[in-house]
């Protein structure tokens, strides 16, 4: 297999061909977006005012994630553990918690360490994947609910249990699948594990960008006026179609899927991304905020950027595992 190999005395990096082209494609899109961010705001300042900071943030995101994927599964797990922590902190800052729950919030942060630690725990368990599957949804849940009842304030108990568990599942467990996917043996995918993860991230982010672009170009009919008033049918369907086509035609380069399997995932993954997006919008609306924080200029918070991935990542992982990957 061809590709790019860079080696020195103490290091060697091998990029499979598809991944190399993927990175170059992202680079081309970033340059295109940067040029657009220089031209469009000058023509219609009000319509495109957020494009400049948005593009600058995209560069930072691309360099961080691209760097981690090249560096390997350990670096990817550490980066996404950090991302999960920031997302969970955003969520638990905005969601209602009680004064007595500070310890529970600390326990919730601790699940980040355990959840991502399990990705490293090959020697500890016969199959660390099975432990990963049950840790956050079952055992973190049991420990935290028990701890919360031990603290003893019953008023608002059930609501707080639900809120903390929602945060852990969405921000830690679901996002953790991205890092877990990096443990796929290289031989099981045409562009290695990094290729699988790159494809997931590329597809979900492309879906967001495609929805944004189709919406700005043609958007008329609101799709969820009460939840996310900027979303339109034109944007959502245009984005879905664009992403599904790109997924289907690029799948052979990045995934071991058959054409039928690729077609199923091409339909499911962009739809999951869309529902992740509007679910987060519903929560933000309930909490009375527009953005989850101001960490990423032009985008809002980590959760604002991650919203579609929180749904797309577990589905992508499980469908791949079911269809094609022996390891999981």
């Amino acid at each position: 297999m061809s590709g790019l190999t860079v080696s020195g005395e103490t290091f060697a990096i091998h990029l499979p061909e598809a991944l190399l082209f993927g990175f170059l494609g992202v680079l081309a899109l970033l340059i295109l977006g940067t040029v657009a961010a220089l031209i469009l705001p000058a023509m219609q300042p009000t319509k495109w005012s957020d494009l400049g900071p948005r593009m600058r943030s995209w560069w930072v995101i691309a360099l961080l994630v691209g760097g981690a994927l090249i560096a390997g599964w350990q670096a990817t797990a550490i980066l996404f553990a950090l991302i999960s922590f920031l997302a969970l902190k955003e969520f638990l800052t905005l969601a209602p918690t009680r004064k007595e729950d500070r310890l529970i919030v600390l326990l919730a942060y601790l699940t980040v360490f355990v959840n991502y630690g399990l990705i490293f725990a090959d020697t500890l368990f016969e199959d660390s994947y099975q432990v990963y599957l049950v840790f956050a949804p079952v055992y973190a849940f049991l420990i935290m609910t028990a701890a919360m009842s031990w603290i003893g304030r019953t008023e608002g108990y059930l609501a707080t249990v639900g809120i903390v568990q929602w945060g852990v599942i969405v921000c830690v467990y679901n996002i953790g699948y991205i890092a877990l996917l990096m443990r796929t043996p290289g031989a099981e995918a045409p562009a290695g594990a990094a290729g699988l993860v790159f494809f997931l991230l590329f597809i979900t982010q492309l879906n967001d960008v495609a929805q944004y672009c189709w919406g700005k170009l043609l958007g008329r009919t609101k799709i969820t006026p009460r939840v996310s008033p900027n979303k339109t049918w034109e944007g959502a369907l245009g984005g879905w179609l664009t992403t599904a086509l790109v997924f289907y035609f690029l799948a052979p380069s990045f995934t071991p899927l058959s054409p039928v399997q690729a077609a199923i995932m091409a339909i499911v993954i962009p739809a999951a991304g869309f529902f992740g997006d509007i679910t987060m919008s519903a929560i933000k609306r309930d909490l009375g905020v527009k953005d989850t924080s101001r960490l990423i200029p032009g985008h809002g918070g980590v959760l604002d950027r991650l919203d579609s991935l929180t749904f797309a990542a577990p589905l992508y992982f499980h469908l791949l595992a079911y269809f094609a990957i022996e390891r999981f």
């Binding site: 905005l94 905020v289 924080s293 101001r294």
Partner: protein, 213 residues
Amino acid sequence: MLQTLRRYALMFVVRPIARLLFGLDVIGAEKLPRDGPAIVAANHNSHVDTIVLLCLFPARLLHKVRPVAAADHFDKGGFGSWFSRNIIGIIPIKRGAASRHEDVLAGAKQALARGEILVVFPEGSRGAPEEMTRFKTGVARLVEYMPAAPVTPVYLQGAGRSLPKDSRLLVPFNTTAVVGDHLTWNGSHHGFIDELRTRIEALKAEAPPLRWR
């Protein structure tokens, strides 16, 4: 030498850690003073407040920013005292026990005269988490002494949840700082602190809703 150490410690150690743990969202950063002498006045709920306010300033101003802090709490000797004075850069102020003839604000006045930016908490004490108490007149006496110094009101939210008074357990939560338009000396001690308090309370509306029961 110590100034350089302070600047680098704040830029490369304190600020990254604070950003990781407390997020440090700012609304209206452009309204912060760009040079001294100036005063920044905020509500006070946690030791973390001081760190949050310090981190709002750009690197080139950091050496001028001086939090005014209670001597009985931060200047008790040992490493804590060294760290508070030299890295956080506090101006220690005596609470309560000061004698009648001593000007407790002398250190703060000298700092204003040197053109520094004072960070003050007019409540004087941290109080109950995420609640504002009565303002003391110290800040008004400082602007009376130096009317050229604008007083910038800042509303801080969230730090009281991360590290409330009487708690040793630090729990990370995002903080938000809302910066308002500055005030100048209006000739009355109580008039000034009332106006300052009203302004800080009004800024609360711009922060994300706080749901903490």
